[in-house]
Amino acid sequence: MQILYFAWVREKIGRSSEEITLPADVRDVGGLMHHLSTMSPGHAAAFANPTAIRAAINQDFARATDCVTNGDEVAFFPPVTGG
């Protein structure tokens, strides 16, 4: 699955996207954040406070309890600040 990062989440992780295989025991956005946080010190820093991160599944805003599957595009980013 395709994972995208934006703003300071991208900066902490050091890349804007990556392709991963969803582990069988990860079912939702919250579980995916926990899984990603184990991948590197940068990932751990980015996901240190999951409540500070927002997510989107296939370009729609998503909650921590929303289900993810291997074909999804999932993005993680800070609360938006446009306008």
Binding site: F6, A7, P78, V80, G82, G83
Partner: protein
């Protein structure tokens, strides 16, 4: 059907307004909001990042919500991205309707929702060389909640 644009270039407010009213006589009100890059604390530039694809999708959804709530005859949303100096226009919202109430309310609604429901992020770069990501404000969330 709203006009939705995400671009680096500056927008032409007069041309955008003219496009909404051209060859129509049923429009009694045209409301506009322009967001401008304000120079707080020796700001050198604002850098706007977004999520291509989701941004346009989210803006179209916000515009459709406005069109469902108010009788609009036209609606334009233009948001700039990239590096913008102080004084530069960032965002343009135009709403046209038969009467001013709908145009003004829809314009305020669109700005409140653009600030809280479209995937843009602002990074401030200062003249001293440091930079920081702008944090989301509770006031913006509260403003969006009132609709």
């Amino acid at each position: 059907m709203a006009r939705i644009v995400v671009q680096e270039a500056e927008f032409d407010i007069a041309a955008e307004m003219a496009a909404l009213t051209a060859s129509r006589t049923d429009i009694g009100a045209l409301a506009s909001f322009t967001g401008i890059c304000r120079a707080d604390d020796s700001l050198a530039a604002m850098v706007l990042e977004h999520y291509p694809g989701m941004t346009e999708r989210a803006m179209a959804k916000i515009a459709a919500d406005a069109e469902a709530r108010w009788p609009l005859t036209g609606c334009t949303l233009i948001h700039r991205v990239g590096r913008l100096p102080p004084g530069a226009p960032i965002v343009l919202v135009l709403t046209a309707s038969s009467h001013r109430g709908a145009a003004l309310e829809a314009c305020a609604f669109l700005m409140d929702w653009l600030k809280t429901r479209a995937p843009f992020w602002k990074r401030e770069e200062f003249t001293a060389g440091h930079a920081r990501w702008v944090e989301a404000r509770a006031e913006d969330d509260a403003a969006a909640q009132r609709w």
